[in-house]
Symmetry: D2
Subunit: 342 residues, 4 copies
């Protein structure tokens, strides 16, 4: 059986990545694509790498019919997403990839995003989309809020450790290296090839990155007390991938055992043998997340490193995994593509 | 029905690429992997990006059983391939990815590869593996000789034009830009990141590249007279992709029409609208080849540019396409993966 | 003795490159820097890599005093340059790095740049800034028109060959690979790291690149008849450097001898031993141009490859070399910086 | 006055970088270059980017005359350096760039480098080459031991803070991102462009990197008690540059004031305005080190980030700075080259 889906904001990188994944998904059919600034264009004009596919032309959201659509993937900017999703017909279910429904408390949203939430009632119905930890709720949700890509990576390391109470909650340092596609297709000087290539630098240093809102919400919930990690992302000259180096204090063996137990049956989360650690090169363009644990020379401390592809497992792959759940399909359907190396 | 296959030389890039493609191929099962220098290791140790797959351990060729194997993919170095393939049991069919069986005339082999051919009888049975042009022979071949990746790219541009007699055979310049994975996993100074990144230079300049043997053989056969093109490859700081800029003399519209007609029904060869031209960014990690035709300002001259991924359409994807034909499977099975962008 | 200079358009890449070079030039002092959109900012804010230098704050051109300025370097966009330079006081001499004064015939300017020239009288006084070929005129010029970076590279290969009459003027193909900084600091999607990295494609294919105006003008003048080369530039994923592969028809040895004779005494133009060819990696961030000649396997044809850094020898280094001449300084002063490798 | 210098191990990256710097140094003359595996070759053959320079041919060390040499720069591998330096004539002074004389205690050397030190008497005479902190001793030293490039970067952040007692000595995390040239010209799979580009991963994770020997030695000496930091280096896809993100616990303002005071008069160490932080793009190919301090959102914690070029300030530039001191030359002579951007 084929399920009809539409993608809003299909002219951005997460939209393109979704189309790439759905192209070989056996049960989904793309029946609508929106991209307001590029309405009227074909996807081949916007993304020549999708030239071989038979896809609908880009339209405005207003011109799109949702009559036959079961799932809408929404890759719009934050603030816009709220407004658009609030007006979708009741029968469609939504996988949002924006930041708009990630934070349960509208006050948190306002704190991190600088303006009041425009659809607080809808927010109450949203399920946080970190699949492995919200699986049952996602299955029946109408609205799933895809996580931040950095937020997903950090949580794959820290959730099991915080839940199990095996690390010091006040001494968590997350040093993250992010490839540039996570910044989207924005026209900014620091994203130019001439400026980023051969460069590397921090950004949102000092605890100002918006994904901290997600970390705080989720970790505090798990711990039953406020948890405020230190989180410093860096931009590196690569296109895809997040490498999250996490410094935690606790027994390295216990930490390792906790993670292996937590992810024992997971199809996409792979804990490497103790002492090994991952590279973003080895998960590129795939839905896999690799996690490694290494004991530090300082006793009672460990380094836990996770790697995933921000566009796939960090965003569009996660969205598709959630859509599979919502539609009652096998969770891994269309997502077992092997990483591209070299 | 599942067909059992084995890969010889699985520890190189073409071997890894084949495993990546076969991982989501519905009808093939990998039952043997050889990698002499890494025999005894798991593929996850050699290629951590394949960690999620259930694959046989690497063995030596001597230790491999071919009893249940239908197709052997051979990614060994040239000269070695001849020797190994000559000793394979009769019931296996072979898709060779080395250079050993590409040249029909053993004298040509010796000229370009510097030593006599060791299996000239076997050579006589080999079919040249450029799928779109040798489809019928490939279906029934025991031994298919995969083309050079540069040789494939140039032929996709030039074969229809030479066959149709629409260009000057004595004024063909092929200026090719090749990503570095085409050089394999060889440990050479000029392939180090520190030396290649931010660099670009020609190689085998002056008509000394071995793929000229293939061009000469195929083009002369098509034309019924000797054709000796000028061919200069360049190394660019990218991992995957070949961009072949071809300067030809003839009527641009006729050239365009000839190419669109030649590839009208082809699933993987896409001729862009007249005046557009391709990027290697748009075919990466896929089996597609994009071709563009632009009229030069000098009347009677055209620039034809082709782009493909050297590891996929230029090598392992081609090999799988040929294997599909040999096994009576749909030619595109497992190969419709969309390009990875960005 | 110190000469005071000012740089207009100092917030672009050519402006920054000039500051870098002048920073260690013993005889020049920067007394003015303009950058209209960034007026009021320090150079350290616009270009943190220049943080260690004691430089004037950026101003608007209107607010700049030219009273003590001997030389003005002008890195403004074309069309703007004409207007600004026309209003500079008589006592300043100008090294323009824009396209505005490169074409002697205002009709050519209009043809290639799409609008009438606004300062045709001033145009008559401009000297074309390809130092090695216009040295004497540059020394006494008030206005020197810096060449296009691609135009410079192609001319270093072809001028001596055309002047000597040793190649077929109707069979010249110039296939050029250009790094991205040549496109400037423009905010365009195709210049983003995510889109350019791992990519390569042609641009202005078919003979539409504006630098053809320079080629046509200079080559026709040299030959005494119209010369229309084929010229196809490509964008490659690197920051600095142009590699120009030139296909010419003529005797390779004669070609080689002609080039070595032409550049025998030149401090910056290095002809490699016959059969060798250059890499952009080996001239990066320097004022050197490397040229190699290789005989093709097709008799009577040669491949001549030149490499230079578009920001240095192709633009700001050339400008400084010309300023040295204008000021009676040693031509190489401040310009002997060795290339940066790796 | 000109001082004669020789470079041992001139066929590696640090050797080439020294030649690049000395090429425009007004007081040094290179009279000898060794490179045992490439003895007999010209530097232009080994490093074509140095083609314009008039340099001695590479010899073996045995064939080199030290009669007229004042300073020997030694870029040999560790273990080899000890042996070679021990046999140099008494009149030469040595700036070693290897690891052999960095650790004062031979037991430490054996611990970190896995074999006994072969010249323990010579070790006693060596001065640790971190210029800004050992200036007076370097001036009169016969043997200066250049620091590790990672070790230099971390020390520029931490020495003043440890010396001033303003941070918690037991809670120091140094997360370092290193470009690939720091690994030298070694032929290893993970240094190939195809494997490093688009990748990022940790190495020597868990406190096993040899530069920890330097950190432990220096920090414990400064603190008067053992200090064992956590140090995790990562390899990123860039050629030059180290970005060191340091997580410290202490008052951010005090930390900032301590660093600005410590480096107030330093020509090469630039502390950015409070809240700003550096990029490796902004110090590339220069001898500058940029340091930024940002207060974390967690009270009492700060992130201090330093950036320098591993080949320049981290190795060959440092060596030249030390040689200037040893020869009584201005410390900055030949080293004020501005960073190359973009």
């Amino acid at each position: 059986m084929t399920h009809n889906v539409a993608i809003l904001g299909a002219s951005g990188y997460t939209g393109a990545e979704l189309v790439r994944l759905i192209a070989t998904h056996p049960s989904l059919q793309i029946v609508g694509l929106s991209g307001n600034s590029k309405a009227g264009m074909t996807m081949a004009e916007v993304f020549p790498h999708l030239r071989h596919l038979d896809l609908p032309r880009l339209t405005t959201i207003e011109d799109m019919s949702f009559d036959d659509v079961e799932i809408v993937f929404c890759g719009l900017p934050h603030a816009t997403s709220q407004r658009v999703i609030a007006e979708l017909p009741d029968h469609v279910r939504i996988v949002d990839m924006s930041a708009d429904f990630r934070l349960r408390d509208p006050a948190d949203y306002e704190k991190w995003y600088g303006k009041p939430h425009a659809a607080p009632e809808l927010q109450k119905t949203a399920v946080y989309g970190l699949t492995e930890f919200y699986r049952d709720q996602i299955k029946t949700a109408r609205l799933v809020a895809g996580t931040g890509c950095n937020a997903a990576t950090g949580q794959y390391v820290l959730r099991p450790l915080i839940a199990a109470g095996v690390i010091d909650l006040d001494q968590i340092v997350l040093d993250l290296k992010a490839a540039v596609s996570g910044a989207g297709r924005a026209l900014k000087e620091n994203l130019l090839h001439a400026e980023l290539s051969e460069g590397a630098h921090g950004y949102a240093v000092g605890g100002t990155h918006r994904h901290l809102g997600e970390f705080d919400q989720e970790f505090s919930l798990l711990a039953g007390r406020p948890v405020n990690i230190q989180f410093t992302p860096h931009l590196i000259p690569a296109n895809r991938g997040i490498l999250a180096t996490t410094y935690v204090q606790g027994d390295p063996t216990v930490i390792y055992d906790t993670l292996t137990a937590a992810y024992a049956g997971e199809p996409f989360i792979k804990v490497l043998p103790m002492g090994e650690h991952p590279s973003i090169k080895h998960i590129r363009a795939s839905n896999f997340c690799h996690i490694g644990v290494v004991a530090d020379r300082v006793p009672g401390r460990a380094i836990v490193i996770a790697a995933l592809d921000n566009l796939t497992k960090g965003s569009s792959g996660q969205a598709l995994q959630n859509a599979n759940l919502m539609l009652g399909l096998p969770e891994t359907e269309g997502l077992m593509l092997a990483p591209v190396f070299p």
